[in-house]
Symmetry: C2
Subunit: 476 residues, 2 copies
């Protein structure tokens, strides 16, 4: 990896935020526009989203859900039906006040999420326990009026899926909530190679209108946490607000129990900040739009391009392969595809053709291999598997190394100053302590993990009896 | 088809508009909500759209286009850059004037189409002829502030894809425009079994900001036409407005030539109105979410349900098959799946099991077949092919029978009164005649078809020399 090919990007150790901005633009994931806080998702960025979406959509359907599409606009009166919900979302919605040339009688908000639209619809279509469960999902764009924005991580508009379900019992809704947080966790770990901590949000951090919220939290390269997917048990709050009742098996009217769960384009930001390095993106093979990029060497020499294109056609049967036969210099091409995080580079020139072999270079480790054509396909598949496994192992190692345990608030603060990352610490369950910890350290409660440990018997802040171990961190 | 199973829907001959509304709601394609003019696309409706989208997306990618995603909002100043475009769209856009608790300095419109966003982006990323062509597409929701709306046909918000491309030459842009109108036509004819007339829009009917517009026009069961897809050559109008220039092969700065093209959820309305009948929807097999519905008969009898489920598992390898083993009566189920337009019904009960056969009923013709289990799969595939072919042939026959030729304006008017449908008639090319024809008959120019005929030498209205043969019709 000659220094002569180092790209014009900020080193992540110098300025992580600038490194991130450099990478998302130079790797051509996004572009800015004159629309404040919104981003243009360019072909490379969008094909990543298409791959993620396709994987998740399969899982959503396999678990029995059906896709639907709800309106973009929500009349103000509809948004106001559930009290906690409107309080949570009102400060960050965009309002449509004029249509064509006329002023609207009732203003419409651009959906920040669609619980109220689903609520109204569910009331129409659910009458009996025979109509349950209703397991719906929608792929959509939503808008939240954010003051400061960053591509993928926090934008005025983003793309996501939002699941909305109705059930007969609290227990069944609970199982659904757990099932979907597990679907998200598996997608993150198995496909995106992003290790996550699964747990419950504190009441302070739960979704506006939910009974409780489950979350998966991941850890970025700079030690900040990122909420990567949430699943909410809504109880019967929305059902009460919207009158979603059904005749139960005993013949009595009863409110449904609901859930909702969402996963967004934000995860692309996580993928960048978990796997990327100073040469740019590193994309996990399972989700990479191009897994192998062929770079012909001395391509003006007879036979090289023919050979390279034949190779591409033959490999295309088993891997996602592309070729760059442009007249740019090989060094520039190496640069470009490293920046784009293509898992494997395949070089082939006259020397390789003579020897009946190719050169393979791993993006994750920089390792170089000379591989005979015979058996190349198997080798590629094996290498791609290795890269996927290595990326996850590396990220898991980083997460574990950057998860400290603190048993005193002094230690909490000094740990957080010394190494950013997760701090595991006991908590009494009080909102006051949670607020104070945030105020004094900048760290928020990320989750009450499913896998509890007993680090001590007292709250890290107030020293009253502890109820839970909590993951704390500064977060995106 | 016993009358006892006739559904509670209006007959199309009595009130076609009411028939349409009955069908879209009773077949559970859509639901209404408190959002005026918007619709909820329910699972069955959305799975139709997913199938259409998947077919079209494949063709869009196969023809070299890449998917991207642009912002939902357009600042007023950006929308105003191209004069014809803003004039065309300003009367029908929704305006966001407030974000969170603050009033915006510049109002934002919710995209009615995205030419201006692409224009701004293209300016950023195109510098040299080496950057061309740029072949982009986006799947998105758009909003047009319509006064009167109908599900799928005309809604405040709809789903679509919009292609946006940049080229070096006028000729290349022209070829792209033709290529994409052909992609739409093939999708309509080969997948949706909707025959179309391909042609050019008159200047009056072309897209706001385009040099010219190609269109495909289809004919509904009630004789009204429906514009089913359009492809625009934008020339260099947007390029001038946005300054999209590149260094050409001769080393000089030059404006790009652009195209845009779109296909929407409207096509679902066309599919309903072309194939549907008084028992409900009729869905072409190639796009049907369920191609075969298994209805167990006397399902309480031993072995029936096991047999039916085994059959489902075995058939699922080659067709999209579902089973309804609910405790509703078979007659109700027949009703329901006829309403939903499932191409084939498969009945199996004790008698059939004894005889090692099943009963198949075609949705399009009502024909009933007794088919041995051996060879059932081949028979199903053949029948589904036949249904697809028959639906297209039937619709094509309807289109041809309802395309009259008129050589005098008197004949034009009396033909239109006698039979709704297309009227082919010569036209001088003058805007005045086009306006007058609309005013006096309600028919608009649908297109100047690629396949021209010379019906006479004079304009049907002014009797001056004719330039083109035009398809005229009342239209959705």
């Amino acid at each position: 990896m000659g220094k002569n090919f180092v790209k014009d990007i900020t080193e992540m150790e110098d300025d992580f935020a600038q490194w991130y901005t450099d990478v998302v633009t130079k790797a051509e994931l996004i572009d800015y526009s004159s629309v404040r806080g919104s981003m243009i998702i360019r072909p490379y960025g969008f094909s990543l989203w298409e791959n993620i979406k396709s994987e998740l959509d399969q899982q959503i359907k396999k678990t029995g859900h059906e896709n639907v599409y709800m309106p973009l606009f929500i009349p103000e009166s509809l948004l106001q039906k559930e009290k906690d919900h409107i309080e949570g979302f009102a400060p960050e919605v965009a309002w449509v006040t004029h249509g064509g040339e006329e002023e609207l009688e009732e203003k419409l908000c651009v959906r920040p999420t669609s619980e109220v639209l689903f609520g109204e619809h569910f009331k129409n279509i659910i009458h009996s326990y025979r109509d349950l469960p209703k397991l719906y999902n929608q792929w959509a764009n939503v808008v939240r009026w954010e003051k400061t924005t960053r591509p993928f991580l926090r934008t005025l508009e983003f793309l996501w899926q939002e699941g909305h379900t109705c059930h007969e019992t609290d227990e069944e809704a609970h199982e659904e909530t757990i099932k979907m947080i597990n679907v998200y966790a598996e997608l993150c770990e198995n496909i995106l190679a992003i290790p996550v901590v699964k747990g419950k949000k504190t009441d302070k951090e739960k979704f506006a209108g939910a009974k409780y919220t489950y979350t998966i939290e991941s850890l970025m390269h700079d030690g900040k946490a990122l909420q990567s997917g949430t699943s909410h048990h809504l109880g019967d709050g929305f059902a009460n607000a919207f009158g979603i009742q059904f005749t139960n098996r005993g013949g009595n009217l009863q409110y449904v129990q609901q859930t909702s769960w969402g996963f967004t384009t934000r995860i692309i930001g996580a993928m960048i900040m978990v796997h990327g390095d100073n040469r740019g993106l590193v994309i996990p093979p399972k989700v990479a739009p191009t897994q192998v990029i062929i770079i012909p060497i001395a391509q003006h020499k007879e036979g090289v391009l023919d050979f390279a294109y034949d190779l591409k056609r033959s490999l295309a049967k088993t891997v996602r392969v592309d070729i760059d036969a442009s007249d740019k210099k090989p060094g520039w091409k190496f640069n470009e595809y490293e920046m784009k995080g293509i898992p494997l580079r395949l070089e082939v020139g006259p020397k390789e053709i003579d020897k009946n072999q190719v050169v393979l270079v791993r993006r994750d480790t920089g390792e170089k291999f000379f591989v005979k054509l015979e058996g190349l396909r198997n080798n590629l598949e094996k290498l791609l598997d290795d890269i996927q496994t290595n990326l996850f192992a590396r990220a898991k190692d980083h997460l574990l190394k950057n998860s400290q345990e603190a048993v005193s608030f002094e230690q909490f603060k000094s740990d957080l100053e010394a190494h950013s990352g997760f701090i595991k610490a006991m908590w009494c369950g009080g909102r006051d302590c949670e607020d104070k910890i945030k105020e004094e350290t900048g760290a928020t409660s990320r989750c009450i993990p499913f896998e509890q440990q007993s680090l001590s018997t007292t709250c890290i802040y107030c020293t009253k009896p502890a109820k839970h171990m909590v993951y704390w961190a500064k977060a995106y």
